[in-house]
C-alpha cells in the first residue's frame, strides 16, 4: 500500500543536472499532449492555440539542450562502463520523449487544420470539456500565470510555423540516430513493474500537482472541489460573525 509521502525528495534512480533537464522535457511533453487532446473540442480557443505554440517551443528548446548535453556525454570515451550504461538509459528516455513530442506535433497540425477557429460557424466537437487549459500551460512554462499576446489569426498563422518546426524535429531525430549509436533494446529500465505505485516525486517544479498524486482518485458520485468548499465555509463563517456582531450591537443599544 503506498504511503502518502508527497514531500519526500526524489529517490536516487536519477540525479544530477541531466535528470533535471530530462525531467523538465518530460513534464513539458506531458503537458503538450494534454493540450493537444483539447484541440478541436469545446475547450479549443485562441488561447489554447497560443498555449500550444508556447509549450512546443519550450519543448523544442529543452530537446535541443538535452541532446547537446547527452551527445557530449556519450561521445566522451573516458567514461566508466556504469556511467555509460546510465547515459544510454537517459538517452533512451530522451528519444522516447522526443518521439512522443513529434507525434503530438504532427497530430496538432492535422487537427488544427481540420478545426479552424475563425470561421462563421465553428464546429468544435462538444466533448463536455469546457474549462480552460491555462493552468496546464502555466505548469509547462513554469510560470504562475500565462500571458496571452497573440494575434487573432493565430490558428492559421501558427500552422505554417508548426510545419517548419515539425520538419526541424524530424531532421534532429535523423541526426540523432546517425550520430549516436545507442541500441535501445539493450537498455534495462531501472523501474520494475508497478514502480509507479511508489510515489516518488521530483523536487522543485510546481507544487500544486504534488500533493494530489497520493490521494485516492475521488469517485464520481462523491464530493466536489475541496477548494470551493473552503471558500464557501469561509464566507459562511464571516457571515455568521457579521450577524453576531450586528446582533450584539443591537442588544447593546436597545
Amino acid at each position: 500500500k503506498p504511503e502518502c509521502c508527497c514531500l519526500s525528495a526524489s529517490t536516487g534512480n536519477m540525479d544530477g543536472e541531466e535528470f533535471t533537464m530530462l525531467d523538465a522535457l518530460n513534464k513539458v511533453t506531458a503537458c503538450y499532449r494534454h493540450l493537444v487532446i483539447a484541440l478541436g473540442s469545446t475547450s479549443d480557443s485562441q488561447n489554447l492555440r497560443e498555449e500550444l505554440k508556447k509549450t512546443r517551443n519550450k519543448a523544442q528548446e529543452l530537446a535541443v539542450a538535452n541532446r547537446t548535453k547527452l551527445t557530449a556525454l556519450l561521445k566522451d570515451k573516458n567514461i566508466s562502463k556504469d556511467d555509460r550504461a546510465e547515459y544510454e538509459r537517459l538517452w533512451v528516455l530522451f528519444t522516447s520523449s522526443v518521439e512522443l513530442l513529434e507525434v503530438d506535433m504532427k497530430r496538432s497540425l492535422e487537427i488544427g487544420q481540420d478545426f479552424p477557429l475563425k470561421v462563421p460557424t465553428r464546429h468544435l466537437i462538444q466533448t463536455g470539456m469546457t474549462g480552460s487549459t491555462t493552468t496546464v500551460a502555466a505548469r509547462a512554462m513554469s510560470v504562475q500565470n500565462m500571458k496571452y499576446e497573440a494575434d487573432a489569426n493565430i490558428d492559421t498563422v501558427d500552422l505554417k510555423e508548426l510545419e517548419t518546426e515539425i520538419a526541424q524535429v524530424d531532421q534532429m531525430m535523423e541526426e540523432m540516430e546517425m550520430k549516436v549509436q545507442v541500441a535501445p533494446w539493450a537498455v534495462e529500465a531501472k523501474q520494475e513493474a508497478g514502480a509507479e505505485l511508489k510515489s516518488t516525486v521530483s523536487v522543485g517544479n510546481s507544487s500544486v500537482g504534488v500533493i494530489s498524486i497520493c490521494e485516492e482518485e475521488p469517485k464520481e458520485t462523491v464530493e466536489g472541489e475541496t477548494g470551493l468548499m473552503k471558500v464557501f465555509a469561509g464566507i459562511i463563517f464571516t457571515g455568521v460573525l457579521l450577524i453576531a456582531g450586528i446582533l450584539g450591537y443591537l442588544v447593546v443599544n436597545l
Binding site: K1, N13, N26, K27, T29, A30, C31, R33, H34, I37, A38, L39, G40, S41, S43, V92, L93, S96, S97, L100, K106, R107, L109, E110, Q113, D114, F115, T121, H123, I125, T127, G128, M129, T130, G131, T133, T135, V136, R139, I166, D170, P184, W185, E188, A189, Q191, A193, G194, A195, E196, L197, G209, S212, I213, E216, E217, V222, E223, G224, E225
Partner: protein
C-alpha cells in the same frame, strides 16, 4: 477532410474513406441549429454538459439521412463501435441503445485513425496511469497486458513511469468536470482500440502467435549463394530467347512494323522456329505451355503407348474425368494402387478435387519419365533439325527505299522520330559503306 500529414517514413498515409465520412457526420452533428440536442449530465455535485441520449442520436440520423429506424440504429452503432461516441453509463458495453442511455462525443485526438494507430507505448502509459489511480487494482486482462508490455518495451519502462506521473499531474490542473471527462475519454479510446479479451482467448491468441513465429523460424532457408547460382543459370539459359537482350529475328515488329515475327511463332504454323523448339527442352512446363509443343508431345506419346497417357494429358484440363478411373471403365490408367484406392474412396463421395491425387501422380510420371524420353527421341531431334532460323530483314542500302517507320501518334514520339530517323540514316549509311567494302 482527408488532409495529408507530412510524410512519416516517406509514406503518405491516408485516412480510410469510411472514417472520413464518419468524421464529417460527427461534425455536422455539432451544428448549433441542425445538430443533435444536448443535455447536461448530472453527477452528484458536478454537472457536465454535452450529453445526449441514444434516442436523440437515432432520431437525428433518421431525420438527417432520411433512413429507416433500423438503418439509423445500425449507423449509430458504427459510431459507437469506432469510438466517435462513447456510452457514459456502461463504458465497456460499446453498443448504441435507442433509449435514454447517455452518450458523449469523443475528442478528435482520440478518433479512430489509420494514420495514427494506437501505439504500445501509449497503452503502457495509460495502464500505468490507471495503476496509480486505482492503486494497483487493475482488471485481470489489463494486468496481463501490463505485464506483457513491461516485458516487451522494457527498455522504455522508465519513460512510461515518468510520463504516466507527469500526465496525471497535468490533468490535476483542470477542474473536476473536465478531469472526469478526460478520464472517460481516454478509457473509451482504449476500450475501442484494445478491447478486453477473455483470458482463454488471450492465451489462445498468444499461443497461435508463438506457434506462427516458431514455424516461420523453422522454415527452410536456402543460402543466397545457391539461390543466386540458379538465378544466374536461369538468366543465361533464357538470354537468347529474350527479345530485348538478344534482339528478335526476323525483326522486332514494334520497330519495323513487320509482323513476320508473330506469324512465324503463331500456334498453327507448319514449321516452328529453332529457338522455340529449343525452349521446350528447358522444362516440362515450357513444353506444356506451348500449344505446338503439347501437340508434338501427344503425337510422341501416341506413338509410344496405346493412348492412355494421351487421354490423361487432355484430362488435365478437363474436369470430367469420371470415365477413367471407375474399374471396368472404358479407358484404364496407370496409377499406383495407393492413389487408386484413395481416388476410389473419394469417388464414393465426389467433390471437385477427388481426382487431384491421380492427376498429380500422372503429372509426375510424365515429367520424370515420358518427358526426358521425348527429348531424346527421334521425333524431337528431327523437328529440331528441320526448325527454321529466320533471316534478319535486310536493311536496304538506299535510305529512301527503306520502309518508313510509323510511330504511334503520340506527341512525345513526334519529336523523337525526327531524331531516330537521323540516327538510323547515319547507321545505315555506315553499314552501307561496310557492305560495299
Amino acid at each position: 477532410m482527408t488532409i495529408n500529414t507530412l510524410s512519416q517514413d516517406g509514406v503518405q498515409r491516408q485516412q480510410m474513406p469510411c472514417l472520413t465520412k464518419m468524421e464529417r457526420m460527427i461534425i455536422s452533428m455539432q451544428d448549433p441549429d441542425m445538430g443533435i440536442k444536448l443535455r447536461n449530465q448530472r453527477l452528484l455535485i458536478t454537472v457536465i454538459p454535452h450529453a445526449m441520449t441514444g434516442l436523440d442520436i437515432v432520431e437525428w440520423l433518421i431525420k438527417k439521412c432520411s433512413i429507416s429506424d433500423e438503418e439509423a440504429l445500425h449507423v449509430g452503432q458504427l459510431f459507437v463501435k469506432y469510438g466517435y461516441i462513447y456510452p457514459l453509463k456502461e463504458p465497456r458495453n460499446l453498443i448504441l441503445k435507442a433509449d435514454d442511455s447517455s452518450y458523449r462525443f469523443q475528442t478528435p485526438y482520440y478518433w479512430m485513425s489509420t494514420r495514427w494507430p494506437a501505439s504500445e507505448l501509449d497503452y503502457a502509459i495509460y495502464l500505468a496511469k490507471k495503476n496509480i489511480r486505482k492503486q494497483g487494482e487493475l482488471i485481470e486482462y489489463e494486468k496481463e497486458c501490463y505485464n506483457a508490455l513491461h516485458k516487451r518495451i522494457n527498455h522504455t519502462w522508465d519513460f512510461v513511469v515518468m510520463q504516466a506521473r507527469e500526465q496525471l499531474r497535468a490533468s490535476k490542473q483542470r477542474r473536476k468536470g473536465d478531469r472526469i471527462v478526460l478520464e472517460c475519454q481516454e478509457q473509451a479510446y482504449w476500450l475501442v482500440n484494445r478491447p478486453p479479451v477473455s483470458p482463454e482467448h488471450y492465451k489462445l491468441t498468444t499461443l497461435t502467435k508463438n506457434t506462427i513465429a516458431m514455424i516461420s523460424l523453422a522454415r527452410n532457408r536456402v543460402k543466397s549463394s545457391i539461390c543466386l547460382e540458379s538465378y544466374v543459370k536461369y538468366c543465361e539459359q533464357y538470354q537468347p530467347h529474350d527479345p530485348i537482350m538478344q534482339g528478335c529475328l526476323p525483326s522486332n515488329p514494334w520497330i519495323t512494323d513487320d509482323i513476320m515475327f508473330w506469324n512465324m511463332n503463331s500456334e498453327t504454323v507448319a514449321l516452328p522456329t529453332k529457338l522455340r523448339v529449343e525452349r521446350w527442352s528447358f522444362s516440362f512446363m515450357e513444353l506444356l505451355n506451348d500449344q505446338m509443343g503439347r501437340k508434338e508431345f501427344l503425337t510422341y506419346l501416341e506413338k509410344e503407348f496405346s493412348g492412355t497417357h494421351t487421354q490423361i494429358n487432355e484430362s488435365i484440363h478437363n474436369p470430367y474425368k469420371q470415365q477413367f478411373l471407375a474399374p471396368g471403365a472404358s479407358r484404364w490408367v496407370n496409377i499406383d494402387s495407393k492413389t487408386m484406392e484413395k481416388t476410389l474412396e473419394g469417388l464414393k463421395r465426389p467433390h471437385r478435387f477427388v481426382l487431384d491425387d491421380a492427376q498429380m501422380h500422372i503429372y509426375f510420371l510424365m515429367k520424370k519419365d515420358s518427358y526426358p524420353r521425348y527429348l531424346k527421341s527421334e521425333l524431337y531431334k528431327n523437328l529440331l533439325a528441320r526448325a527454321i532460323v529466320p533471316q534478319e530483314t535486310k536493311k536496304s542500302v538506299f535510305p529512301f527505299m527503306r520502309r518508313q517507320r510509323h510511330s504511334s501518334p503520340s506527341p512525345a514520339l513526334a519529336t523523337q522520330t525526327a531524331e531516330d530517323d537521323g540516327k538510323a540514316k547515319y547507321s545505315n549509311s555506315n553499314s552501307g559503306t561496310a557492305s560495299r567494302l
